[in-house]
Amino acid sequence: MNHLRWLMREWRGGELALLLVSLVLAVTIVSGVAGFADRLQRGIVGESHKFLAADLVLKTPRSLPDSALNKLPAVVERALVVEFRSMVVAENAMELASIKAVSDSYPLKGELTVSETPFGAAQTTREVPAPGRAWLDSRLFPLLGLEVGGALQLGELTLIAERALLTEPDRGTSFYGMGPRVLINAADVARSGVVQAGSLVDYRYLFGGTEEQLQAVKASLQPELTASERWQGLDDSQPQIAKTLQRAERFLLLAGSFGVALAGVAVALAARRYSQRHLDTVAVMKALGAGSRQVTGLYVGNILLLAILATLVGWVLGLGVQNALFAMIRDLVGFSPPAGTLRPLLAGAITALLCVVSFALPPVLRLRSVPPLRVLRRDLGNESLSSGVSAFAGIGGLFLLMLWYTGSIELVLAVLVGVSAILGLAGILVLRLFSAMRRWAQGAGGVLKLALSAMVRRRQANAFQVVSLALALMVLLCIIAARSSLMKEWQLQLPADTPNHFLVNIAPDQVGPVNDWFERQDIDSAGLFPMVRGRLVTIDGRDVQEIPEIEANRGSVNREINLSWSDALPGDNRLTAGQWWPDASASLPRVSVEDEFAERLGISVGTKLGFRIGGLPLEAEVTSLRSLSWDSMRPNFFLLFEPGVLDNYPSSSITSFYLDAADKVLLNDLLRQFPTITLIEMDAVIRQARTVVEQVSAALELVLVLIIGCALLVGVANIQASLDSRLHENAILRTLGASRQLIRTCLLAEFAMIGLVAGLLAGVGAELCLYLIQTRLLDMSASWHPLLWVVSPLGAALVVAVSGWWFCREVIVAPPLQVLRRL
């Protein structure tokens, strides 16, 4: 028999539509979400390169010889950034500024934002100042008493203050970037005469191109470089952002793989219904002489043809989903999506095949064992669909799919544990529950009795329904909870009032006046911390230069370290060993050490450390180790002494505080009052980091919406799976005189109970899965989700009851005979 003709006939039966939709859904999710995630990921990586304003940066204190640069491949994009600090002078004022001179091709990635007037409306540009022009931080205009178009002196060069500079993509990558910015053209550096031999200048050579081209650049320049010159890529320049992106990528994969899992469940449900509705057909065909091979050929051919159709439709929809998602977040992500690749399409096709093989074929294949005698005895053949083999095939397929899709055995194991827990629990609990219900049903009355009996009668179908609903719900809960944890952690990392300005070099006699100033301006500072600069010279009496074990961490001791003191343990510090200034008197001054610093140098509680501070020696004993959060943007110290120890050494203080962009003009007043204090502005860096978090979060939200859609579809497929028997039974009840009201209440009660049990199981399974996802996959601390245990069962009961009633409303509305004849 012709397969295509058979498919067309089968299509009219209606059951294939659900299977096709489920398969299309699977392909759409994979090719859509995977494609979207892939393109978003590449887009975000591209975006993150804008933090460097390039793909690759060479940071050096000297200008590279032309001979070295001329050897580079011509196709590689190049730009030069020169940064240094210098006084800029206007008619009535002068100010120490951070000068950034850039070549015409700057920035290779990202854009500058400027405004035509100080503190004016932002606009983006990829231009740079022409020679003789300067773009200034808004607050430099009032500080220097300048208007737009006014003249500004930099060394021997007179520049026109042309625009206000609001942001640069790579601000914050250089120490010389701290302080009010003046952006000029690189051609003006030599003419200013400011940069002389021995000047402290930071050169950054920016490169853009393909991975191979960048490797060629590295290979070509490496022989010319000294140890103090280094390469910067995304990973080593922005570790926090790289980490954020890594987590976002993992989450997208997690969401995508759960989407695939949901689609798999939908396919399994649809295939089961399809098979159920073909028991009679197969029996008739067999009675009319069809062999099991012929039956298998026809049905497998049908399903494979359907998979091909689903793949084609899913591809188109997947591409649509990708583009729709990008269209929705275009303003947020701020970049045009990179072109799609074939990989997500291939992924979609393989998904369809795997879904068919593991979810659709097992129930369909078992149709071949339907006995022909079913034409005479309709009770035969039903058991052929209830074998556990298809459950195993489905779960096996699910894991293969997820493993292939995510490439993460940990993730798949996390889901495996969750799924096994939920299946095991479901198996035991649901069957126990049903036998208990049988007893309750005897004692109950009215509607409850009917609903309970209905549940017990269909216990096998209901158990399947409960388990699949619980799985879908669990997936959804995991995604929502993991997303919330992730977002919360990101927000914790960068709360809105994260200090964004640092003040250093505050002299002891300025501490009071600076505190007064904060109070007057109503600014909440992190508190002023005294700071003494010293070197660590001995550990337990051994010269640090001669301890071979710390060779790899020599950098930690080959420089001056900031030392401070405190009576109380700072708020965001946590003791990990020892005691905070123990009462017992000690022979040596006492010091507390940051735990990672201690680990690097082999320091523990009781270790004696020798310091040299301003030429004077100091010996101290370690009494505690502390962990602290460097992300908090508050002053933190590797070494904290007990009060009094450092009193005789020259100290200055440090603090950090949050200042809104609109209040930045206040800084002028501060610096005018305390000209010796150094201000470090971190606001632009924090703002950029926050933008990435916002973009990624927006993408996650959208993917989440898609996954919720999938879960709803599983729910629909689930309810449809048992629709026939419910319609049939309720039509008979109505024939026997049951009122519409009774049927409606009975249906609502039965579905609500199914939802309640499924929701409860899902809550337990999700909690288990989340523990593994949080601790193993997202490197976060585990947390309980008590709300899950309440919201999940109640929410599921409500949703399943209402949607179940909606789908079965035909039996309430249509005449019973009509329903019976149709089934």
Binding site: R9, S292, R293
Partner: protein, 227 residues
């Protein structure tokens, strides 16, 4: 045409074994029309299923057109049914997703007959449904559905037709007309007819009547009418 020897069928019900047929033997000649009658639960449909090769006996042997059914597996029996057997069922057993024409074409297509559409159309015309070719079963009355089932049963020109309560789902008047059609088609094609019924009128139209009670043949009119 059909030979059954000492055929028994026992099934497991809960913890006990239920014997539905007890050592039944019979011989049906080519062209005979045989009614199997008896009260509900007497084993009529079970015997029909066994003779048609839809089920396997617990004990005993069955030969269909000289083929020993016990020696064939399900696929072998299906192949034999495809060549020799037609069915008419009480519940019509039309496939709901197929039109009347496609339902009749089905057995012909299963055996790879390229003239399936033409033959099916011809038979639907014979049962008076030429104007209903593209109708789905749900759009047809009970009598019309059974007529489609008759067309489907006779279209492949089977040697043996098994009918299980063919008018059991129809009212008396419609049932009578379907019976007329059944016997008329049977007469035209010279098919061996084995019919299960509890309707005495229908049974009397068959040349031979076998009465079953509690799984045993208690009466066999034994009359043999040549084709």
């Amino acid at each position: 045409m059909i030979h059954a020897e000492n055929v028994s069928k026992r099934v497991q019900v809960a913890d006990s074994e239920l014997c539905i047929l007890k050592g039944t033997s019979l011989e049906i000649k080519r062209g005979e029309s045989v009614a199997i009658i008896g009260p509900s639960g007497s084993g009529k449909s079970t015997l029909l299923g066994l003779l048609a090769g839809l089920d396997e006996p617990t004990d005993g042997d069955i030969w269909l057109a000289g083929e020993h059914l016990n020696a064939l597996d399900e696929d072998g029996r299906a192949a034999l049914r495809s060549k020799l057997v037609g069915f008419v069922f009480q519940s019509f057993q039309l496939l709901p997703g197929l039109t009347a024409l496609e339902n009749v074409m089905l057995p012909l297509e299963l055996r790879g007959d390229r003239r399936a559409a033409k033959v099916a159309r011809d038979y639907l015309e014979r049962v008076g449904l030429a104007h209903r070719l593209d109708h789905y079963p749900r759009q047809l009355s009970g009598g019309e559905q059974q007529r489609v089932a008759l067309a489907r049963a006779f279209a492949p020109q089977p040697d043996i037709l098994f009918a299980d309560e063919p008018t059991g789902n129809l009212d008396a008047e419609t049932g009578a007309s379907v019976n007329d059609l059944l016997f008329s088609l049977n007469a035209q094609s010279g098919t061996t007819l084995v019919l299960v019924t509890h309707e005495p009128i229908l049974a009397r139209r068959c040349a031979r009547r076998i009465t079953l009670s509690a799984g045993e043949i208690i009466e066999d009119s034994g009359e043999v009418v040549p084709a």
